[in-house]
Symmetry: C2
Subunit: 322 residues, 2 copies
């Protein structure tokens, strides 16, 4: 199935994405915990994208973007820049479609991320670790190959793919009152918000972000994108600033953006490890951290939280750092 | 439902246990991984008792023992000694039945285990950390309260409860060729073996244990119980030696006992964390460690592994130790 390129994001786009990517992704489970519910007085439903292919929800958006290409477009491959989960996700999706994936990665990217891209057959171009070097490397690859640039979040097909996690969540858990997603560039958040509001207009959609990378909260309050110069947070997946395609959708479909402190993020991450017995990245602890800090009322409510990924360096856990 | 006290362990006992404890335990999921399957050439099915109530399969055996008591027996409560998961499991089961649980714990038990027993309403008696002190404390409590001693593994009702995990596993995964369980005292192993052989006589049941605590392998080879004086293994749940009720059942129903090195146990634990994104104790990495070391052939076979629990000290992970 090939999709016409959309200039925005609708529920129908997300539903089409779900059909398109179904053969290529896991339908992930939803976990609950009586212990965590007692502690907060609400009912928490954790959508476990840490169990997704390549260990993160990014498998969804990349698969939708790659399998949305026409046959002619696909032959020229895809290009992206990422030091994280999107890189492995795009490499995997391209491999499944049998096309080339050119991945620009900073020269200081973690070995585990490089290995994950290589394992999935991605063709890596290393660049200096700064924005100018990254963008010029990407532009050169696009010019040389004619491949489509698949941005990690500022891309409607990617957003539509990320939104499929929330389609599943709403099918798995009836009568949710609130959905909370972390926000970095806004790809997951836009997909989450459009899916949730489309299916269930009365639901509240809340974004959670680290107070050390609070560009979404500032932008949401100011009504214009305010990028952050130097984000500082343990939640490495959320250091990016909002995309220009993402922000208008967030303004329209998201009810609130709440922040969480670094201390709460680490405590939330650790508690989820201890109680749910699952490995999650610091980034996906942020929604629960905001609950722990009282930023998001959950008493007597049914609350969905997207756990975005589980790719963690087990030698450098944040509670063990000096 | 009250059970007559049995003097052995049969499939019918385990089936009755499953009905009895169903309201009190989780039906845990089975996880698979294309990555782990590719690495070993077999099909691995991980039964996730780390997601069980109190974070371990011990919730099953304790619940069966407590809910098997007659009303008259129950009024006098239960007694046990344990520094680990059985203590919390028995406290929880007793709380659910509304009776007292007297738990003898060594004075050097980890704070997290003590907290878990207290959270479940267990009444703790501390003793010196040696066998004589533990046994005399237990005997005194039994004499004073008239409560039933519920041994962590040398008890048929406990074994029957532990076997319910394998009933579920065989219902969740058709056509398993092999089931592997770790062995410490033998409670889980006996339940696993009797359930598996009862339902599927052609299945192979293999026990895995640390080479640093290989009393089961030695006993199995010698045809008599050979207890270990000073077990040395990171798999703290498997340092106990076989129970006298457990050994004859193991001789009869288990096909082989294989050992794994400490290095392989830590590597297996870490790989399961990294690939499956779940938290497991060192003890339940032992079956996969034995596979990694080539002790258990799995090529082209469908292999069930019982992941026994997920209660880990996140400040003291074995790969971070000096």
């Amino acid at each position: 199935m090939q999709a016409a390129r959309t200039m925005s994001l609708t529920l129908a786009d997300i539903q089409a994405a779900a059909t398109r990517i179904a053969p290529h992704i896991h339908r992930t489970p939803v976990l609950t915990s009586a212990t965590l519910d007692e502690l907060c007085g609400g009912h928490l439903f954790f959508k476990c994208e840490n169990f997704q292919k390549i260990g993160a929800f990014k498998a969804r958006g990349a698969a939708n973007a790659v399998f949305s290409l026409t046959a002619a477009e696909a032959t020229r491959g895809v290009v992206t820049h990422s030091s994280g989960n999107h890189a492995a996700a795009l490499a995997r999706a391209a491999r499944l479609r049998g096309i080339a994936a050119h991945i620009v990665m900073p020269s200081d990217a973690p070995q585990s991320k490089i290995a994950s891209v290589r394992r999935n057959g991605g063709l890596i171009t290393f660049c200096e670790p700064n924005v100018a070097a990254r963008e010029s490397a990407c532009a050169r690859l696009v010019a040389e190959t004619g491949g489509r640039l698949i941005h990690p979040y500022n891309d409607y097909a990617v957003m539509a793919g990320q939104g499929t996690a929330t389609l599943e969540l709403l099918a798995q858990v009836p009568n949710l009152d609130v959905v909370i997603a972390p926000v970095g560039g806004g790809g997951l958040l836009c997909g989450t918000a459009v899916a949730a509001k489309g299916l269930r207009p009365g639901i509240r959609v809340i974004a959670a972000e680290p107070s050390g990378a609070d560009d979404a909260a500032r932008s949401f309050a100011a009504g214009r994108i305010i990028p952050l110069e130097s984000p500082a947070t343990v939640a490495d997946g959320l250091r990016t600033s909002l995309g220009e395609k993402n922000f208008p959708l967030i303004q329209r479909h998201v009810d609130a953006v709440e922040t969480a402190s670094e201390e709460a993020i680490v405590a939330a991450m650790r508690r989820i490890w201890e109680v749910l017995k699952i490995i999650i990245e610091p980034s996906c602890a942020v929604p629960y951290a905001a609950i722990l800090e009282g930023k998001i009322p959950v008493a007597c409510l049914r609350v969905g939280l997207i756990l975005t990924g589980g790719n963690v360096d087990l030698d450098a856990l944040p509670w063990l750092k000096k």
